[in-house]
């Protein structure tokens, strides 16, 4: 108010001075007009400083509130019959003259109890705002799917040397193709082209090379312009060693090469290989020795994978077999080299072993899960595995015949492979293929490790100053102590699972944040408000659609009421009037001064 007074205090002497000057002037030509012009001049000056609001009455359907939110289409504004409102301050620039700002929706609704119906245009309201619309009918007119990354996910918590997969969908509305790049460590790690006018899925891969936390970047490039730049936080954890036990009925190249490969990769391995009747050659590599003359369940409890050849399996005593079957039920992985089609063993009988109809001179193997091809082997494969409904293929030949297959057995898995000479890869210099083949088999077989703790954020993209819910799974049902930012958080137990807990917080800083759960420190990444805009927009749209569906619209139309709306007069009008009057005064003086 004070500012207005000051303006009036300055302007009124100015007006008085101007009028005085006019009346005192010798030239009396058009005096009245000049006086009028002077008054207009000063008034306009005043109103340019003090904005003038006009109250207008507008017919409006009773009880309907039109809310514009981010993402609404400007051209559709004219189609909205009633006066629109908006709550998002970031829309000030676009909607200053055209709509009315509501600073607090809840307060406004309390003030206007007659409002029964809300129409929302654009992306919709945030989760918190939606909660304020209880008992109101809501009609939602969603915005179009935004340009950019509309869905994205990745395996951000990896073991070392594992492959990071960034998958998602990109909505390209542009008329030219764009490039999506995964960037990190100063180099481009993977990239894909998204064609024009398309909703395209992408899958970017990168084998992690760092140890610990790192931030990668997902960048959308249009020529040289950067359309979007999003952060992909990744953290790696050390690998846990696998205990392997290998029993073979004779020493062979296949076993020897596998032994050496595992030894050089520092896996703890015990190998018992029969060399004569009741004579065994025993190796303990990267581990302590133990008694291996009898296979007992105590031995198998500590192992993750047991590798056997068919002869060994068939020659084991019934107690040993019993021990193995039980261990597999409890989670041990069993890998069997099958070398002939007929077997009396119940475990091996589950698999349908066939001889091939046609002999082939080379084997072109590929991994079933990743669809990656291995270099071909010049060997004659004697046995293939038939398809059975409860078995899954792991390795196949030409994507038809199965070489290795797996089957669930209790908590563990039985894996049968019929390839007897994978060492040929090593001999021909294809170390990578050998590694891929055995990694595939052992990965499938290995006993699943029990995590000490499972952690999850309920929101895929935790954002700063937004509510964030964590779900924590503990090995036992004991109450965990959860600390975040030096403060204890209250935890809530899950109704069905006693070891599952929930906690809530509001992250205050972007970047890596630490959560202490008992004695563990867990890192999670908090994004900025501007990150993942298109995904947030999609999420908001979906939330609003969901909300509007659960609150169905009432088709009854309320009667029209008149509403007084305050409208600010644009200062441009005053400026024009000011210039016109000043121009008149100057021109009049110019033309008639000489007369």
């Amino acid at each position: 108010m004070e500012f207005n007074i000051w303006v009036i205090v300055i302007c009124s002497p100015l007006l008085a001075f101007l009028i005085y000057q006019e009346t005192k002037r010798k030239n009396r030509h058009w005096l009245v007009w000049r006086l009028v012009a002077s008054v207009i001049l000063v008034l306009c000056l005043t109103f340019m400083a003090i904005p003038i609001t006009l109250s207008t009455k507008k017919q409006q359907k009773k009880g309907t509130l039109n809310l514009l939110t981010n993402g609404f289409i400007k051209d559709s504004l004219a189609a909205i019959k009633d006066h629109p409102y908006y709550t998002d301050p970031s829309l000030h620039r676009n909607l200053r003259q055209k709509a009315t700002f509501i600073p607090d929706l809840a307060y406004y609704l309390l003030d206007h109890p007659d409002i029964k119906k809300i129409k929302i245009y654009g992306n919709g309201l945030g989760q918190d705002d939606l909660r304020k619309l209880k008992n109101l009918q809501l009609t939602f007119y969603p915005a179009e799917k935004p340009q950019g990354i509309v869905a994205c996910n990745w395996n951000g918590r990896l073991k070392e040397e594992e492959t990071l997969n960034v998958q998602g969908t990109y909505n390209n509305l542009l008329s030219t193709a764009i490039q999506l790049k995964l960037i990190g460590f100063g180099s481009s790690l993977d990239s894909i082209k998204i064609p024009a006018h398309s909703l395209e899925k992408f899958d970017l891969k990168h084998q992690v090379r760092q140890k610990g936390k790192a931030l990668l970047q997902l960048v959308a490039l249009h020529g040289k312009d950067t359309l979007a730049k999003e952060t992909i936080p990744v953290q790696t954890f050390p690998k846990t060693p696998l205990n392997l036990l290998m029993l073979t009925s004779f020493p062979g190249f296949e076993y020897k090469f596998l032994k050496n490969w595992l030894y050089e990769n520092q896996y703890p391995l015990a190998l018992r290989s029969q060399i004569s009747k009741n004579k065994y050659s025993i190796d303990f590599l990267n581990r302590k020795g133990m008694k291996l003359d009898q296979i007992r369940s105590t031995i198998l409890e500590k192992e993750d994978v047991l590798l056997l050849d068919q002869q060994t399996l068939e020659s084991l005593s019934s107690t040993e077999k019993q021990a193995i079957t039980q261990a597999v039920t409890k989670g041990l992985g069993l890998v069997i080299w099958a070398d002939h089609t007929t077997s009396a063993d119940p475990l091996l009988k589950k698999f349908k072993l066939n001889q091939p109809l046609k002999e082939e001179k080379s084997l072109d193997l590929s991994l079933f899960n990743s669809q990656s091809k291995l270099s071909s082997l010049a060997i004659n494969q004697a046995i293939y595995i038939g398809n059975l409904p409860d078995q899954q293929e792991l390795i196949n030949h030409k994507q038809q015949q199965i070489i290795s297959a797996q089957q669930l057995y209790g908590r563990g898995k039985i894996i049968v492979t019929t390839l007897q000479s994978s060492y040929q890869w090593l001999l021909s210099g294809h170390q990578k293929d050998y590694a891929s083949y055995w990694s595939e088999l052992i990965n499938a077989a290995a006993r699943k490790q029990n995590p000490s703790l499972l952690f999850q954020t309920n929101n895929a993209f935790p954002s700063v100053a937004q509510q964030l819910t964590f779900t924590i799974e503990m090995p036992t049902a004991a109450i965990p102590t959860v600390k975040y930012d030096q403060k204890h958080l209250a935890v809530k137990q899950h109704l069905l699972f006693p070891n599952r807990w929930q906690a809530q917080s509001w992250p205050l800083s972007t970047g890596w944040n630490v959560l202490n759960i008992d004695r563990f420190n867990i890192d999670f990444f908090v994004f900025g408000k501007e990150d993942w805009k298109s995904i947030n927009a999609i999420e908001t749209i979906q939330n609003n659609i969901k909300y509007s569906k659960t609150n169905p619209t009432n088709t009854q139309n309320g009667q029209e009421i008149s509403n007084t709306i305050k409208k600010e007069l644009s200062i441009w009008w005053f400026l024009i009037a000011f210039i016109l009057s000043a121009g008149f005064l100057w021109l009049e003086n110019r033309i008639y001064a000489q007369n």
Binding site: F185, G212, L215, F284, K448, N450, L454, M474
Partner: protein, 704 residues
């Protein structure tokens, strides 16, 4: 007469002015265009000349100088000077031919002839010409003073040379420096000097550095590959002149250190000298000289080297004799070429095998040996030439034992050759008719032999070689009263019934093809015999015999006799199955990880990523940077072009308080590349934490 002279003088002056103007304009234009083209498109000097000629022609077209004559001058004078009263033409006429009135007019206008400013605008014309010339010269000077612009990078060689134009950071203490690269003498390249620290030199080149500092330096070191530190001694007493030299054998990088201040890292690249590459165009790697062919070969080879070929010769080894009595003789054959350090040489050599002393049945192995002027030696693959031994073919050895599938036929072919040779020997004694009859008879024999061989391949008529069944005309076989649904009849359509199954599957496909080749040769021999040319038939007959011999050898395996000694068996231990004295072999091994370098580099990669926000490094982290530096240095020694920038940036990171994002990126990229891709390794998956429920679930699954 003065009037005529005056006109002529005027004409000459006019022509001169135009000539000067024309030359000036053309020259100026030529210089301007030429210098511009030379600068932007690197065109040679001929552009100047071309432009000059072109513009001169254009000028002459518009100003035809040769057309200016006296009447032209007269017309000009009459037009421009009214006081001459249109009477100048009278001046050209001889005074005798003038009438009184005309001579009066001449005497009237003669004093009126203009003395100055006769040719209007002559000054302007000259000025235009001179202006053009000045513009041309100045453009020439201007463009020559600007250093030549490099062409856009198109080829890798140019890309490499662009490295030289990179701006190098030179220490402020260094006032002046020159590098002299003296290539080894054998390259016959002249020494060159450069004002650049980046060195690209031939292997074994000597590089001399001459440096002048702007103040006296106490300690001057040169550090090679970050490992070798050399202290320099000043050339002069005031410690401002420094010089050192070094022989460059390997690539790497170096650095100067002046009073403790280290310079940038400068890379050293080498131009390798490769040994002579030898490409033999003729003959083929294995040549067989058959009977009747000239016993000689023409050798042709292309030799190339970087700097020059010093020597080349053929090293030939002859193998003669058979079985245990094989003898080898080595010979060095020289080319009839002069080796004068040429870079490319095409060498030809005609080798007469008879002159070498080769007999039928001998084999010649040879390769080309070459030496470049550095002394590096290289040799080609080994090529072989063999002369077929006819005597060997005729021998009966090997036919008297073993499995003999087709012995009589071999004999027959041999017999045909013998008979043909006999016929040739007796040719003079025989009448023409008798000779022809005998030759024809031999041809018939050959035909019969061919047909008999043809049976092996399932041939049924004499025109075919190798019996191609698919061409059989089945239409003629159609049964008149074929019943509908007669399975046998339908099968007959597609099967060959006139073939004896045994014969058709007698040989392997490889043998069959060779048999076909035999038939082919026999066919040609028969042709020549039937046309009474037994001399021409002989090479084909020999070849057929040779191929047949090969066939015969193929069906045998030869195992040499050896002596074997086995250890004596203990009769009392045999078959007892006692193993109690044999202990189980046991092995306990722990794999030692020798270098933790990769793990440390992985940590460093994380560290660099975490400092992208500009956070300064702590002391512990700087220690890790030091480890990384060692690795980057090792990489930079072998590949200075890709890792030197990273090394510079890594040092910057070590010295600066706040790391720059650009340096972090460069170092990250280098370390990321050094770590490389790793092969897959087995790894266990994880389960959910709720054990009891999943246990129950999985065990329940087992029941089905």
């Amino acid at each position: 007469m003065g009037g005529r002279k005056y006109i002529q003088y005027l004409k000459m002056r006019w022509i001169t002015i135009l000539l000067v103007q024309g030359i000036c304009i053309s020259l100026g234009l030529a210089l301007l265009v030429g210098s511009v083209f030379h600068y932007f498109f690197m065109l040679a000097n001929w552009i100047y000349f071309t432009v000059f000629i072109l513009s001169a022609f254009i000028f002459l077209y518009f100003r035809p100088l040769w057309k200016i004559n006296e009447t032209e001058v007269v017309r000009y004078l009459d037009n421009h000077f009214p006081q001459l009263e249109d009477s100048c033409a009278l001046l050209l006429r001889s005074s005798d031919g003038l009438s009184v009135l005309e001579s009066l007019q001449v005497s009237k206008i003669f004093p009126q002839l203009p003395k100055n400013q006769v040719i209007i605008g002559s000054g302007k014309k000259l000025a235009i010409g001179l202006g053009c010339l000045v513009v041309g010269i100045s453009s020439l000077l201007a463009f020559y003073n600007i250093p030549a612009r490099s062409l856009p990078i198109s080829s890798p060689r140019q890309a490499k040379s662009s490295h030289q134009q990179q701006i190098e950071n030179v220490l402020p203490q260094v006032a002046n420096y020159t590098l002299t690269i003296i290539p080894p003498v054998y390259t016959s390249k002249v020494s060159r000097s450069q004002k650049q620290f980046y060195v690209k030199a031939e292997v074994g080149a000597k590089v001399k550095w001459n440096l002048k500092t702007n103040k006296s330096i106490g300690a001057f070191y040169v550090i090679f590959n970050d490992t070798e530190k050399l202290k320099l001694n000043a050339v002069k007493g005031d410690s401002t002149q420094w010089a050192f030299s070094r022989k460059i054998e390997k690539q790497g990088f170096y650095q100067l250190e002046l009073d403790g201040v280290k310079s940038d890292l400068y890379p050293i690249d080498i131009i390798p000298d490769l040994p002579v590459s030898i490409k033999i165009i003729r003959p083929k790697s294995q040549t067989t000289i058959d009977i009747g062919q000239a016993q000689q070969i023409d050798l042709s080879a292309i030799l190339t080297d970087d700097y020059g070929i010093a020597e080349a010769f053929i090293s030939a080894t002859m193998a003669s004799g058979k079985g245990e009595s094989v003898s080898f003789t080595e010979k060095k054959l020289h080319f009839n070429a002069i080796f004068n350090r040429q870079r490319n040489l095409t060498l030809n050599k005609h080798i007469d095998l008879k002159n070498l002393g080769m007999k039928p049945g001998d084999e010649l192995y040879f390769f080309i040996h070459a030496k470049d002027n550095k002394g590096q030696q290289s040799r080609s693959d080994v090529y072989s030439v063999s002369i077929v031994d006819t005597a060997e073919l005729m021998s009966m050895a090997g036919m008297t034992s073993g499995v003999n599938l087709v012995p009589e036929y071999f004999r027959s072919e041999r017999q045909i050759i013998l008979d043909a040779e006999k016929l040739l020997a007796e040719k003079d004694k025989l009448s023409i008719a008798a000779f022809k009859t005998r030759s024809n008879d031999l041809g018939v024999d050959q035909k019969l032999l061919r047909l008999r061989y043809g049976q092996f391949l399932g041939e049924e008529n004499e025109t075919q070689i190798g019996g191609d069944h698919d061409e059989h005309d089945h239409d003629g076989h159609e049964e008149p009263n074929q019943k509908f649904g007669d399975v046998q009849a339908i099968m007959d359509k597609y099967a060959h019934k006139h073939d004896i199954a045994e014969d058709a599957t007698f040989f392997e496909p490889a043998i069959k093809t060779q048999l076909k080749a035999v038939l082919n040769e026999m066919w040609k021999a028969e042709l020549n015999l039937r046309t009474y040319k037994p001399q021409d038939a002989l090479p084909f007959a020999y070849k057929a015999l040779r191929l047949l011999k090969d066939l015969q050898q193929k069906s045998r395996a030869y195992v040499a006799k050896t002596t074997v000694k086995t250890t004596a068996l203990k009769a009392e231990k045999r078959l007892t199955g006692e193993l109690d004295k044999i202990t189980d072999p046991r092995q306990n091994l722990q794999f030692e990880v020798k270098d933790q370098v990769k793990d440390e580099l992985r940590l460093l990669l994380t560290l660099l990523n975490n400092h992208q926000n500009g956070k300064p490094f702590s002391a512990n982290e700087k220690a890790l940077l030091q480890i990384g530096e060692k690795q980057v240095i090792a990489a930079a020694v072998s590949h200075p072009e890709s890792y030197l920038a990273a090394l510079k940036s890594l040092r910057k990171l070590n010295n600066q308080t706040f790391p720059a994002a650009k340096d972090l990126n460069i170092v990250s990229r280098a370390i990321y590349t050094i770590i490389g891709k790793s092969a897959a390794k087995p790894q266990a998956g994880t389960t959910g934490s709720n054990q009891k429920l999943s246990n129950h679930y999985f065990n329940y699954l087992k029941k089905y």
